[in-house]
Amino acid sequence: MSAVDTARTGSGGPGSGGPGSGGAGAGAPATLLTRVRRAGSKQLLTMSGQLVAGVGNMIISALFARVLLPGEYAVLVSFVSAYVLMHMVGSSVTAAVAIDPGLHKRLFRRGLALGLGIGAVLAALSGVLSPLLNLPVPVIILLGAAGPSAVLLALARGRLYGTQSVGGTVATLITEPIGRAVIGLLLGSVIGPVGAAVGVVAAGYAALAAASIAARRRPEPLPRLAEDTGRHARRARTGDSLYVTVTFLLVACLASANAIFSNRQLGPGEAGVFAAVATIGSAAYFATGTIPMMLSGSRDSGRSSLLVAVGVAGAVSLAGVGVVALLPARAYAMVLGEHYASVGDYVVAYVAAMAALGIGRVLIAQLCKTGLARAAAVLSALSVAVQVGVLIPAHSASAVVAATAAGCGMLLVGSAAVLLREARLQRAMVVVDPEASRTAVRPSAAPAPAAPPVVQRVPLGSKIKALWPLWLAMGIGIGLRVIVTRSIWVDEAISIQQAQLPYPDMINTLKNDDVHPPLFHTILWALVHLTGSTAEYIVRLPSLLAGTACIPISFAMAKDLWNRRTAVVAGFVVAVAPVAVWYSQEARMYGLWMLGATILAWCQIRILRDIKEGKGYGSLADWAGFTVVTAAMIYVQWFTALPIITQHLIFLIAVLKVRKWRFVRNWLLSAVVQLILFAPLVPYMLDQFGNIIAAQGASTAPSQTGSDTATTGKPDVYAAVANTIWSVWGYHADSTMVQLGAFWPVAVLMCFAALGRVRDRTNLILATIAVAPPAMLFLVGFERRQFFELRYFDSTVPMLLLVLARMAATWGRGPLTKLLLPVVTIASLGAGLIDQQINQSNPRVYDFRGAVGWVKANSQPQDVVLYAPNFLRTELEYYPSGLTTLDANSAHPSRAQTGMPAIPKQGRRVFVFGSFLEEPQVAGQVGGVLSDLDRASNTKRLAVHSVANVKVWEYQQLPPSKSDTSKADTDHTKQTKGGK
């Protein structure tokens, strides 16, 4: 039995009662409460030492500022920064030693040699480094002198954590500020920064001495298990230690990378603001620094130490977030100066990110402790990669904050997910005891008792490798979703505008002027206010995440319901499906809705499968998932009612067929809980619907334009065909849709091909969930045509794609068709995606960004933009041209609002910005404006710029003397379609 196994199973191996085990092995087993108390007191005491040390160092730093001259103080700060950096790298070893205190002995000589080496190199290069770092040579030599202490202190502290020596840990922590105060302040005041630096270095050695003395009082640390002393075991431990070290180094990078990037990429002012934010955030991060170390050293294999560590880290972190959230923005200006007034905009988000990192670091420590150091390292590396990936294009403080939040959030969520999964696996796992196995095979007169089921653990690496098709599909899916080829569209711009309001105002606006429930807007609001940005990639982030999550969810669902082959095909189908990509890029609720609907369908099918197979009446997780996600989806989209009605009807049919009370009870309970969860939304819904009815169904947003066949008149079969094509192959130009629609006999072929294949219950349920909502909206469309439109039933698209994937995966019989069918299916979706994303004739693509860019490139500050229709206002606010923008309806060029007649300056321009020109009313409006400008004696049309579904006309004011000739302008009009 390995050390890891024993630690995981808590079976109490020989090492479980070792030093620092909390006394559990000394007598009767301690109760959970006792263990929690012990662990809690250790954590709190150690953290107190850390806080005292931190506060002490800050006070001494302030005192140094008083003692030294500004230039000298700057030298000291630079020295301390390099010193801290060296110790930070060293401290990553601390975690590894805490887990395996024996490492201290094994690594001591190498650590000493490394430290001396660093010192020697720095001393040798001091002459070269001095001008580069702008530091005096003695200071660099002193930095070299600190090399051995950095390495040895990391090892020594690790041993203290590993032996759970609270007193020793606190002693070594507080020795450092004391040493700095006594030696540093004394020498600093006498010989300046070099003396202060000597004090800092000496304090480090004092801390090392304290740690060494404290360690001598502790018994020699024992290995975790008696049998775990072989050469291979040592090698394995060394490998694990390396991963632990790398992991904590990466976590440190996660905490500090943003500062490096912000210095490089932000302007001086913003970089300064971010530096202040980072300083406050790092204090919160620093406060929880000892918690993972103490956890790593704990021999408690149960959950108590983890719960205590997470609880303490969470409480401290939340307290930090609470403090900065409660501080008024002016407080930062008062403390840091007026230049830092905007710190309040970012600090809450940043401290929250650091809080997440603090808790995540605890979970990472637990992973390392339970033998999952490799997974922890991979997770940390991924988090850093995500952070750096978002940091690279970041050019604002808010973006840097967002990058930090993304990296830290991923670490937290990822580590929590791995731990939960591990816990689940442990519950199902029975460790094979070789001794017991040997005994079992001996002949015996008595029949052997039934052996418990043995679950062989598959290494994580093998599992990850086995899932390579999913990783590939996700890579492709993320890549396709990140490449956004269209600008923010009107509905998105309205949502973004709403999200910038104070929360109560946003809710009121939604109730009064919108037609959607509030969950997505709340998420967007939180994101916009956390990051302080409305950049495209920020506002598209929720949909991107939801849309990307659809890929693994579909993969897992298909694998669970059918088999791996279908899962692989489903993964790729969802990754490249045009509509899935489209709504993963739209800053609206549809991506989230698709994800929720997929989970809903999965839960329901699992429940019905359990009942059919006699495995009970659905697991708690499935019922809970179905219930909660149903309620959540109602908060996302009112039209969720349609799939919910469909799914409850399916349950009703199942109930009538099965007629089992426990099934009925579960179903009714779920329905009641759904209603309870929905209840808080009822007043909002009544208000909103009342307003809609009062406004006679008018919406603030324009209806989505597209193929005329699908949005005008009554719904017909061709509209159904068009919506089906959109659902699977995406949005296309009208001419393409007409040609694609002509291929409806392919549907006849599909009907033939479906003969005898749709009796499978899973397929039937999925097909029903996919077809029933659009069918209902088709009927509704006879009254309200605009409702028979894909985005109102796009939640059914994943189900349709799953059915398609199933068909592609299984309808082939021979080896060739088995290969060809999935390939052709995915290729056809890919072709649809390319046309959807690239073809600018797509009636749903609006290039407002391009049009505004053209206006900006051709305008001067005094120029004017007239726009039509009026709801383009939000677009032009999102993409500001920097010019005066006026509604063409309210600011007719012949009137004074444009200011044209009043300003005689020659060369002033008017840009008429038009879109939705296929709508007669808008076309008339724009036509009227153009006609007036063309007829005016002092204007000349210069250019017409057309991009996807947006057109801009450029006019220039002429000198009054040339007004007579201005009507001959049309001959000189130049067309610049496609942009300059």
Partner: protein, 548 residues
């Protein structure tokens, strides 16, 4: 979508076993391949189909719809024929009901088992003889009726204690062979088995009880192909059979119009004697025999239980030969059926069955319409947009497909439909040969089994495919407007259907690989009394209801 297993897994638990109320030694197999009636679902679907048919025809028959009058007439002809067949199909389906469990035979009867043989080899015939002598529930005498005159079959008969009958003159083919044996035997009942059809030991116990009806002439059982799970041609052929031996045969039986299928059938000897034995002038002697028996007031019965496992056609040559024979026989019997003095419902059922073999003409009409449109621009229907056409046609078509899917019970699949559609030319050839009272001119490749390239067996289909391909490509090259693309899509649809149906004639290696699995022989084809390995050790007699 998952395939329906023809035989459920041997280790199926109660939770995973299909839920059905069938009884008998082969209940699970029977359920898997023939399913059970679903009366309410069928009633609903028939109602919807009728409404959709009215909806479509009320649009199609509007005078404005007439495009090219000739093409319109052809289209109407095809549509009316299909609707007539569909109405008959729906009527039959409505009559499909679960049957009561049969009663055991009233007395220990004597049964002669006839196994007529012409040129089949020993390894095919031996399992049948071996299984026949094991039949329970009656005093059984097995007769090997050898029209091949081979001494080794006499030895085979002796080996199993069977009787061997050979003729000097081989007139009347199979009918003549059986009539010859009838004259030489005298048992109460006669069971006729083709020489590749292995009976279940409980066959007689499951069928003889029905003869409590003294006017019952015969009891027919399904003709299940045991090689359907390994040979694609046999699988598709079985799927077509499953549609017939499932809801259609059950419905016909309830109407009283079930006809004899030539094998797996038990006759009352007195009934055979009454009609003078099998008619020898027809190539579908079984069908004509049924008409004659019903004219003379005899009843017929069908037991929807898989009690015999045979071998289906293993390649396209065999299939084509079988279909051509059936088509010619049934079409040649149309006149006889129409002249028969039978109740109208029985006569209608017989007419529907024999006229089914005109379906190929409608397939040809449908295939020719896009070709004509692409070549000449002429089309049958006018004053219509794609939308209005789809509004009326889509419900009619989709509901028709849905009801076929329900009737097929998951066994009738695209491969079966495609094989049927690709046989269109067989129906045409059979019609011509019947009308001209000549034998068909199509020379069929001799049966050689899987592994031979057999384009000659499907050459008319290949010609049509080539035509569709050329015309489709030409159409796309000349124009990409919606109307052209729509007709190209139709041409493509027919191309895929025909291509799928004919593919096994052109892919001998693939067919051979799929057919490599060794065929079950003899008792091992059943492996147990349940028809499933290692199951059902109970006494099947307990499942029978005691005689009143």
């Amino acid at each position: 979508m998952s395939d329906l297993p023809i035989t459920p897994p041997a280790n199926a638990t109660l939770a995973t076993r299909p839920r059905h109320r069938l009884t008998g030694p082969t209940a699970d197999t029977t359920y898997a391949v023939l399913r059970q009636p679903e009366p309410w679902l069928v009633r609903l679907m028939v109602l919807l189909n009728v409404l959709a048919t009215f909806w479509y025809f009320s649009w199609l028959l509007h005078p404005e719809r007439v495009g090219n009058p000739f093409l319109y007439g052809l289209l109407l002809l095809a549509e009316f024929f299909n609707v007539a067949q569909a109405l008959g199909f729906w009527w039959t389906m409505l009559s499909d009901r679960p049957r009561k469990t049969p009663v055991p035979a009233a007395h220990y009867a004597s049964v002669d088992v006839f196994v007529p043989r012409y040129n089949e080899p020993v390894d095919i015939v031996e399992p049948v003889i071996a299984a026949s002598v094991e039949l329970r529930g009656a005093d059984v005498t097995v007769y090997l009726l050898d029209d091949g005159g081979s001494p080794e079959f006499a030895a085979l008969a002796r080996k199993y204690g069977a009787e061997y009958i050979a003729r000097d003159e081989h007139d009347g083919a199979k009918a003549g062979n059986i009539n010859n044996a009838l004259a030489m035997t005298d048992s109460d009942y006669v069971l006729v088995l083709d020489c590749d059809h292995v009976p279940h030991p409980e066959f007689l116990r499951r069928t003889l009880g029905y003869f409590a009806d003294e006017k019952l002439a015969f009891v027919q059982t399904p003709q299940y192909y045991a090689n359907a799970d390994r040979n694609p041609v046999a699988a598709a052929a079985w799927a077509q059979q499953a549609l017939f031996f499932g809801c259609i045969a059950r419905g016909k039986s309830r109407i009283g119009a079930m006809f004899c299928c030539g094998t797996n059938v038990v006759f009352r000897r007195t009934a055979l004697d009454d009609v003078g034995g099998f008619p020898t002038h027809s190539i579908t002697e079984d069908f004509e025999l049924s008409v004659i028996m019903q004219e003379r007031g005899w009843h017929t019965e069908y037991v929807s239980e898989v009690l015999v496992q045979g071998l289906g056609p293993e390649d396209m040559a065999s299939y084509t030969s079988q279909q051509l024979r059936w088509a010619r026989g049934c079409l040649s019997a149309v006149g006889r059926v129409l002249r028969a003095k039978l109740p109208i419902k029985i006569k209608s059922q017989y007419a529907l069955s024999s006229l089914h073999f005109l379906t190929g003409w409608t397939v040809m009409i449908y295939m020719s319409l896009p070709v004509i449109k692409l070549l000449t621009g002429e089309q049958p229907v006018a004053a219509s947009t794609a939308n209005t056409f789809l509004v009326h046609f889509a419900p009619y078509f989709m509901l028709s497909i849905a009801i076929v899917g329900i009737a097929g019970g998951g066994v009738y699949k695209f491969s079966a439909y495609a094989l049927s559609a690709a046989s269109f030319w067989i129906h045409i050839a059979a019609t011509i040969s019947v009308v001209t009272r000549r034998k068909g001119r199509f020379v069929v490749t001799p049966k050689g089994g899987a592994g031979q390239w057999q384009p000659a067996t499907v050459w008319p289909g290949l010609v049509v495919c080539g035509l569709l391909l050329v015309v489709g490509v030409r159409g796309v090259l000349l124009s990409q407007d919606a109307a052209t693309l729509n007709n190209v899509a139709f041409a493509g649809l027919h191309l895929v259907v025909l291509g799928t149906g004919m593919s096994w004639a052109l892919r001998p290696r693939a067919l051979e690989e799929r057919s490599k699995a060794e065929l079950p022989t003899g008792e091992s084809r059943w492996q147990s009394t349940s028809g499933r390995p290692g199951e059902d050790q109970s006494d099947p007699l307990k499942e029978l209801v005691p005689a009143p």
